[in-house]
Each structure stands twice: as C-alpha cells, then as structure tokens.
Amino acid sequence: MPKITDRGIANIYTKLETEQRTNPSVKIGQAQALEILAAVGDRSGWSAASALKELQKPGLTQQAQIDIAKKGLSATERRDLEKILDAGTVPLEPSARQFLEAVIGRTSPQPPNPPVGNADLKIQGNQTSGLSGFAKAGDSIEAINLSAAPSGRLTLEDTMVIGKADAAGQFKNAKLTGDQAMQEGDLIRMRARHADGTAGDWVTVKAEGLGTADTRNAAVAIFRIGLTDAGNGKINVANINASRQVSEPGAQLQLTNVRTGEKTKVTIDDKGSFPAGFSIPGKPGDVFSVAATDGKNNTSFATEVGKLTVPGGAPATGDLIKDPALHKDELNTDGTPKFSTKRFTGPLFKDGVSPKDTQQGQIGDCYFPSAISAIAQANPDALQKMIKDNGDGTYTVNFKEKDWMSGNYKDVPIKVDGDLYVRSWGGPLYGATLGSDKGEKTMELWFPLVEKAYATWKGSYNAIGNGGMSSDVFQEVLGKDGQDMSIKYANPDTLWKTLKTAIDNKQPVSAGTYGDDQDALYTNTGVHSDHSYSVLGYKEVNGEKLVTIRNPWGETEPAGNGANDGIFDLPLKDFQKLYQTLMYTN
C-alpha cells in the first residue's frame, strides 16, 4: 500500500486493498472515487458522511462534485491522491482515474465524450462552456433551442448562427443567447451551413454541464393544439401551425378528459408536433386538461398547462358573464337593446392567427380591427397567447396597461363568455371573423372575443365605438409603447425608412386617413376618410415604392388590386397624400 497520510483516505484505501486481495477483480470505480472524494471534502465543514451525501445528490454534475472536493483539498490530501493514482495497488477504472486527476488539476474534468453527430457536424464534450465540435472549415454553425422555442414564435428553421468552424474545422464554446440561452437538459438542434449555402443534416444534443439539475420542463404552446370532432367518439388532435412546435421532441403530453377522467398520453415527434392521425376519446363540448413532462420535470403530470374545449358542444345555459352593453346607436330610446345575443361555441383558432381573420362590424372602432390585423401580421403568437379557453364556456383575454408612474406594463385579464350580439340573420353585429362561416358552432372566435373583452374592459361597445387610435391598441396588446408619425409633413425617405424598419423588425404598423376636412379627396379613390388601415408590408416594383395595406372591413379597395379582399398596394406618393398618421411600436 502506498503511504497515505490522511486518515480518512487511508481507511478507505485499506478497505479496498483488503477486498482486492480476496477478489482480484475489485477496482476503484466512480462509487469508490466518490468515497475518497468525500474524505477529501471533509475539510469543507462537513463530515465525510455528509460530504458523501452532498456528492451523491441527484442531478449533481461531475464538475460540481469536483468543485466540492477541491474546496476541501489540502496539500497532504493532494499528495495522497497522487500516490493512489501513481503508486496504488488497487487498479482504477479509466473514468475514476480521470475523475481523481481532475480534482488534483491534472486533466479536464470530463472524460472526453465520444463526439456525436453526422458527417457534416460533430459535437464534442458537454456544454459547460458552450457548444464545441467539428465541421468543415469555414462552416457556420446554426442552432435552435428546441426546449425554449415552443414558447416563442420560432419555426424549426429559425436557427441562430452560434459560431464558425476555423481553418482546422473546429468551433469552440459557441452559445445560444437571449430567449434561446441553454439550460441544463435543454434539447439543442444544430446543423452546419456550408460556404455554398447548403446545410448538413440536423444533430440534436441534450445540454449537460450547465447546472446542477434540469429544472426547465417541456414548454407547451397550448394555443397551437387544435381539437376537432372526428364523429366516431374520437377527437382529432393536431398542431394547427405545423411549422412551429407544440412542445419539444420527446416530451410527453397527457390529455385528461375532464368529463370522463380518461387520460391519454402522447409523445411529441421529432418536429415538435403530434404524430399523424393522433386522436383521443371524447365528444364535442368535452374539456381536456393538458399536462406535460420532459421526463425529468412534472413526471406525475400534476401541473396543468391549461385546458382545451372541443368546439361544437351544447352551449352552457344562462349568461355566464355579463356582456358589455351595446353601442348607443343600437339602443332604443328607453335604453333597451335593439339586438340580442347568441352563444358561439366554435374553435378559438382554426388555422392559427391571420391578418385576414379580422372583420370590422357595424361599430366605429376601425382602429381596433386594423391594429389587431397588423399585430396578426407582425406577431401572431402574441394574439394566440393573449387568449385562453377556460374550458367552462368562458375565455380570459389578457391586455396590458401601462403604469405611467413606473413606466412598466401590468397584465389586465378580462374574462368573457361566447355570447355575441347578432343581426336578425344570426351573424355577429360587431367584429367577426372574415369569411362566409358565421355559424355559431363553427366560426373562428378569437377576434370577436378579443374585441368583446376590449369592450368589457373599457366599459361597453359604446366606449370603444366612437373612434380611437391603433397605437393605443398596440400598447394594450403588446405592452410596448406606441408611436405616431405625421405622414403629411414627413420626408418621403424618412417615412419609407420608418415603415420598413418597423415591418422588418416585426412591429405592427397601421395608418389613419384624414377626417372630414379632406373627405372630397377620398370619393372614388377606394380609400375612405376617417378610417384606419393595417399596413402589412412594403415592396419596390420597377423602382416604385409600394405600401401594402388592408381595410379592416375585409373588402373595399382601390381598383386594380385583384380580388376585393380589402388588401391593396398603394404607391408611396399616394399613401402620403391620402393618409394622415402612421402608427407603430418601438
């Protein structure tokens, strides 16, 4: 036996030597190395037993174990470890040898993991310092954090360039940043982008070495889950926006039918969606509680993500939540309403959120649907996230209100039911979803409910139906300060640049026309006075600058713009003549 000075280490080593004499196959493995390190760590204020307990904590990385041991390492103990490594009589397994060598600073803490990947990209080691590996010289390394992406609006192709392979084909310590920053246990998908623009196959790794435990559960974009009645006691479950994830690949979702208690589990596929043809037992009107696990967190599915309702069920009876009063134009002289309500039970979202979904009703709130349509163009996920189906015939719409003292925005949750004021023929009186489907069981509901919640928040449809500004709506939906720019006096280049910058930065943009003083300008132009339009984009055709605009009526536009869908291109010079104010967010 090498001469070991520290009594604790000596006791352990003597025991191992004794065992090895009777059983020559005994070696120092990870477990024995931890016992030795516990004896080293006993100077950190712990007993060897408590140090061992600390070192054996679930989820503790090897680096953290080494750090604990190093903290208590004395010069004598260092020499003892050197003797065990260099002159010991009990053989060491390679991993245990490298572990102990790391404690005394001879080698890197981790045994070099075999690289993972494909012919284009190989990832090596853990991610303590970032992502490292090999590709072809000059390749860009693109990555996306699949564990963080479902919460945002990234598609699977929305990667971030995290590094570049050097002349030897090596890249080191590349990192995802911002919302994409890696946490322990996150799934990171990467590929190499070659100099000719082509990309190699994806490589996916689970991030290690970033913390003591994987604490981020699989995020679920519940607003992308669509439930539809299959008609045979089954409900089809699908991702309504297949270019984006419902959750991270490999995550398990549990859908519990609140009526029957029946639970169905499903594993999310490689694209972050449900397997094709996935269905669950249920019927229209059933409510499903959704929970998820990444295999480490929420494994019992105790924490619910949210609830979803299968559209088309029998409506709950009675007024669930008091409806906002009608606009004064729709009240009789005695204050009684000229219109009644009908309960709508269609799906919140049919195919996600589109700027073409919104249709202004018979109310003077053009600034509202034009703002919502602009947000739907720039940031559809913000709208999908702001509304939640409570599963009981009610919905919660979350607005933002600025605290002018602090400058911060606070959440304003508004709860509404599915009752909408209707015309004699049954279609909605106020905001509706554009298109021929105005059915009470089938119409997509997100826009009319967001407008109803807005009226509820402000006091009534009358409170929102006498004009307003889209920039206020931008603030109240996104929690970002709105900006107004006078178009008439703007330098055309400045106007064009402002508009382009806002659209390129995925900020919503709208434009308002002049009021009564300029009305004669508008007749026969296809553009209306005192009106607000969404600005959906811009383009340059043969050197002419064009602004793409949408009328929130979903129709009526200047001639020569194709189908009468309210969407048209206007030359910048005409835009500057007909429009008064440009509104956008910072």
Binding site: G467, M469, G515, D516, T523, S529, D530, N564
Partner: protein, 119 residues
C-alpha cells in the same frame, strides 16, 4: 365615418332608383355639422361632412323609372361629392342618396346580383 357599409339587404329595399351616374355639379352645400371632439390622429370618430344638393347625370338605370338626370340630396355623411364623382347611386323616394359612402358604398357587381335575385 368609417363604419363598414350597411348590409345591402337592409338598404336595397329602400332604393326607388339605382343608377350608374356621375356628379355634374354641386348645387348647394349645407351647414357644417357639429365638430366631434377627438384626439389628433384618431380614426373612426364619426365626424360627418355637410349635406349637399347635387345634379347627377344618369348613364344607366338599374332600377326605377328611366331618367337622364336628377337633382339629389347627399345627407350629412362620412363622404363628400364633387363634380366628376361617379359610381352606383341608390336613391330613395325623397331623392336622398342611400348608403353610407354614396357611390363608393357598393360595387356594381354586388348590386346587379342583388337586383337580379329580387326579380
């Protein structure tokens, strides 16, 4: 006032005449309506423009007795007319222009289809 046009099925029954016509002359302008209070830059404030009496030249009659021209009233509304403005005019029996935006309220194709369906 930028509410959408009234549903055609609500307006068409009130129309004694439906013309394809053009404004020849603005004969009279009514008093300016009361100014609505609104923030600068606000849209859909409901501000109306003055009533007008205008002479229109009729190019085509889609409904009603044939006439060559007619003097009609544009009520206080969210649009204004000037010579040369043209399009479909829906006129009631008091010779008042119907439709929230006068000749810009409904497309010919929509009107023609609705009138044909009534026949």
């Amino acid at each position: 006032m930028a509410k959408p046009p009234e549903p055609l099925q609500d307006v068409l029954p009130k129309a004694t005449w439906v013309f394809d016509a053009e404004v020849v002359e603005v004969l009279k302008q009514g008093p300016a309506p009361e100014k609505k209070e609104a923030r600068a830059g606000a849209s859909d404030t409901g501000q109306k423009t003055a009533s007008q009496t205008v002479k229109i030249k009729v190019n085509r009659v889609l409904r009603g007795e044939p006439v060559k021209e007619m003097i009609v009233e544009k009520p206080e509304a969210g649009y204004a007319l000037r010579a040369g403005n043209h399009g479909p005019f829906l006129i009631d029996d008091s010779k008042v222009i119907l439709g929230r935006y006068g000749p810009d309220t409904y497309a010919f194709s929509k009107l023609e289809a609705a009138i044909a369906a009534k026949k």
